[in-house]
């Protein structure tokens, strides 16, 4: 269902050419947000649901979100003959077809079937309706009272079943029949960077962090498409050389400019031309316990350079944004997915799932957990991001219709770059967003 048509003409108001000035209403307009849910989250896009490792056994489920809709990621039974072609992963909507009840309340668990508490309509793990009480009425002497009407078929009344695609342990789903195959959706530029982390690795689940951020959901995508701020906002990055503008880096995108990878390689940190006048740089800063930055290179960091055949590349950080709702982080030894769950134009939940690999030594697991002190809602680095997003949203709200952000570092174009002194990835996402939203 689309938002009232009356609003669409009023919303066609992107007055500047290009996508380097993003109007404040893109972040604050409630009707536009409803259209975003329809056109983006429930439209022809693949949205993150979870990791296969979260549901290892038949019947395991995890409650997740696509947009504001709750969905269940479930591991179904698969006949032995189908196991080569069917992952068994299903994604169904958490909404009973009878009276609309969100029948599942637990974040995760194991079930033989799903039973709605209201009238006990019962669904198989794949979402098929298995049965319901009094379908054929209740006998009273010779007559039968009530029951469902003639022609009522169980098979016509299953849960909403989403299309599911898995990629090396990642699970994505889409409500739309129009969404292109996942490989095409991601595209050949982004794929090597996903494979670098996930292909050939068995994941282990380390745990979750959840935060509620009072800002528009797109600000989080922008934050991870913005290589300008990390070396300025984040003291740890600039001081210890984890991410700053004097590093060899690269901004990669898919053909439509909606997904991106920010790739960089840490240096020794310390004073340099790039730290001149940067107030977050702390020249004398040392750690009382330097295990917090006990970085150990891992063999999989090095891969053949996708854009220079014959050469190899060894980034220490890759930040992948998969439009619209998934961020995948490799920051030295810390790995996580970050899931955006929008809650209206001015708020979203941000769910972090940290993971490691099955062949990690106990020391490597500890190292990943230790480095998680840098990331997440309390992170030495990432706590800043949620805070500035809240402040951005406040600025948009107080000015209104006529205001816009200015994203012109590196010009107004939308090209890939071999440096990080640019806001090209943000401009590219909005060029795509404008098209999808027809504003």
């Amino acid at each position: 269902m689309n938002a009232p048509q009356a609003s669409s003409s009023a919303l066609s108001r992107w007055s500047q050419p290009g996508s380097s000035r993003i109007p404040f209403w893109a972040y604050t307009d409630g009707q536009l947000y409803q259209r975003e849910l329809e056109a983006i989250f429930y439209g022809a896009h693949w949205c993150y649901v979870g990791l296969e490792v979260e549901i290892p056994n038949v019947g395991d489920y995890k409650l997740s979100h696509i947009g504001e809709r709750q969905v269940l990621m479930v591991r179904d039974r698969v006949a032995p003959k189908d196991r080569d072609t069917d992952s068994g992963i299903r994604v169904v909507e958490n909404r009973c077809v009878h009276r609309g009840v969100r029948f599942c309340q637990k974040l995760q668990g194991n079930a033989r079937s799903f039973v709605c508490p209201y009238h006990q309509w019962t669904y198989k793990l794949n979402g098929d309706l298995a049965g319901l009480p009094f379908k054929d009425g209740v006998k009273d002497g010779d007559c039968v009272n009530g029951g469902m009407p003639e022609g009522f078929e169980l098979k016509d009344h299953g849960l909403t079943k989403l299309r599911v695609a898995t990629l090396h342990g990642l699970v994505l789903a889409t409500f739309s029949d129009e969404t292109e195959p996942l490989q095409d959706y991601l595209g050949p530029n982004v794929m090597p960077w996903l494979e670098r982390i996930f292909k050939g690795h068995t994941l282990t689940l380390l745990g979750y962090n959840r935060q509620r951020i009072p800002g528009n959901w797109k600000l989080m995508m922008e934050n991870i498409k913005d290589p300008y701020h990390p070396g300025l906002l984040h003291t740890w990055f600039v001081t210890f050389g984890l991410w700053r503008a004097d590093q060899k880096s690269r901004m990669v995108m898919d053909a439509q400019g909606r997904h991106a990878v920010m790739i960089s390689r840490k240096n020794e940190g310390g004073q340099a031309a790039v730290t001149q006048g940067v107030t977050s740089f702390k020249a004398g800063m040392t750690l009382h316990d330097d295990r917090l930055l006990d970085v150990v290179p891992e063999p999989w960091w090095r891969i053949p350079d996708p854009s220079n055949p014959g050469a190899e590349i060894t980034p220490t950080v890759t930040m992948i944004t998969l439009f619209p709702s998934l961020i995948i982080q490799q920051q030295v030894n810390s790995l996580s997915t970050r899931h955006i769950v929008p809650r209206g134009a001015g708020e979203f939940d941000f769910v972090w799932t940290h993971f490691g690999f099955a062949d990690d030594t106990p020391e490597m697991t500890r190292r990943r957990l230790r480095q998680s002190n840098l990331f997440g809602p309390a992170g030495f680095v990432s706590a800043d991001d949620g805070e500035v997003i809240e402040l951005s949203q406040g600025g948009f709200r107080q000015w209104g219709e006529g205001g816009s952000t200015l994203c012109e570092l590196g010009g107004t174009g939308t090209e890939m770059t071999e440096h990080m002194v640019t806001e090209t990835l943000i401009r590219s996402m909005y060029a795509y967003w404008k098209k999808v939203m027809a504003v």
């Binding site: 959840r210 009382h288 295990r291 809602p377 800043d384 809240e390």
Partner: protein, 167 residues
Amino acid sequence: MSTHAPTAGSVEALLLQHQIDQLNAACAAALDEQRFEAWPEFFLPDASYKVQARENFDRGLPLALIDLESQGMMKDRVYGVTQTIFHAPYYMRHIVSPAQVLAVNNGIIHAQAHYAVFRTKPGGVSEVYNVGRYIDRIVRTEAGLRFQSRQCIYDSEMVLNSLIYPV
């Protein structure tokens, strides 16, 4: 060494509980009064401090929101919250329940207490910020009781944007 908790209701038990309550009160006061440099001093040099979602704790998942393994790391956190992490300013107010002494093993006191932390931003209303329980291991030193480990296991799994100060 003995493995026992003091007999319930004994003077020894009451005294121990009183001492732990005093430790908890002093630690909370240091945080609420923003005397952050004093906070690591409530811990032993090799102590650990974790703030962890109940979801992870209950499922045996190791990830913590804050995961510090030494007093040195705690000092680094204090430097972070006072010098390096950008955040809008706020006050905390701790309400800590009376401690329960669960056991005393080889000189290590196992205790827990429930806590609620309210957050107030300048010009704002007070919000329920973080609610949970402390699971503590405490030892006697010449300077008084000190934490060998403190786990803050919080029910409020949705952090209100960010969590900067220790709780």
